[in-house]
Point group: C2
Chain length 182, copies 2
DNA sequence: AGCATGCCTGACCGATCGGTCAGATGCCGA
DNA sequence: TCGGCATCTGACCGATCGGTCAGGCATGCT
């Protein structure tokens, strides 16, 4: 029954990703993950320090790229350019990390307000402001949040749709929805 | 400490609504609700049969109106009319039930697949199809789902924004985003 | 005064949660 | 062949969950 460590590690990560996407972090038990992998709950906790560590590793890469996008947005020189960079960057990110993004967004309010995720809380702010065209008008902020939340929550439902179809569809929608706000 | 039953009932409902919106159904315990109301956990279960009954009563009115909107969409005679009815009806519904809609959408996949909510599962289908302009193209379906999911999840963040500002902002966004799809 | 009823409490229940631990098993180099 | 290390298991822990129950305490009717 023994299995090489790296494979087991990745198996657990993959199983947790599927479960989290379907039932949320709180709605998934270590027992569920272990059952999917085909090992005991204790084996899961041999490869990961605790349940939060699984989540942390699962969202590490999308979070890193979100932070990188944040810096690219900060480096722009006009609201229009910021919006373009934000739109294309976020769509790419959401498509690339379809499964993670969906539950990452869903768990954000409740889970990412406490350690060890607290420092990530401010990152989406610049994204929202860029989408809103640096406008403080409620209408612009509503539009930005609807699009952002919609992309995040929707992408998980299109796991099987090839990127070649999903990405342009999202980009076209974002451009149509946001351009008149400028 | 004794309080007239109808007021307690409504107090519990209101407290549960706030908690569910913030932490989700699974993330809220009966103890949390009882603490907010200022009574014991047993008192909560005196007014409601079980935890699910609180959720059921909380979403009964928005669900009823969602079903009613579903019928109004079915009664239309063209895709364009269906989309107009769906857009205005859903925006009204989302704005009116800002708090409920946010977590109702969030809990849908996991919770509303099992009794006593199973029969509600198919209702959003016609809404999505109407938004997509009765098109089967992935791009149209992506647009429809992004807008629907975005509205539902975003509305909860604008509890304090008056309807007079939120409603037209959402309607304008929906019109801009969906009209070119036809 | 006595009694019934409505509202509520603290104590308790079994189930499940995340997490720990001692020990079993298998593999690999010396 | 043997010892050591990595991997894994079953049993167990305390905490918390949703839910139950017997009884207390008002209030109001007879």
């Amino acid at each position: 029954m023994t299995r090489a460590a790296p494979e087991r590690h990745d198996d657990i990560l993959a199983a947790a990703g599927r479960r989290f996407a379907q039932s949320g972090y709180r709605g998934t038990s270590l027992q569920d993950i272990a059952a999917d992998v085909g090992c005991s709950k204790a084996a899961v906790l041999y490869h990961f320090a605790d349940k939060k560590a699984i989540l942390a590793e699962l969202v590490a890469r999308p979070i890193d790229q979100l932070r990188e996008l944040d810096e690219r947005i900060a480096a722009t020189s006009s609201p229009a350019e910021a919006q373009r960079v934000a739109a294309e960057g976020y769509v790419d990110l959401a498509v690339q990390f379809r499964r993670e993004t969906a539950f990452l967004r869903g768990e954000f309010p409740g889970l990412f307000q406490q350690p060890p995720f607290s420092h990530l809380q401010h990152i989406p702010d610049r994204l929202v402001r860029a989408f809103a065209g640096h406008s403080d008008r409620p209408a612009a902020r509503v539009s930005a949040l609807v699009i952002l939340a919609g992309i995040a929550e929707t992408c998980g439902e299109f796991i099987d749709l090839p990127e070649a179809e999903l990405r342009p569809a999202l980009l076209a929608l974002v451009r149509r929805a946001l351009e008149p706000v400028n």
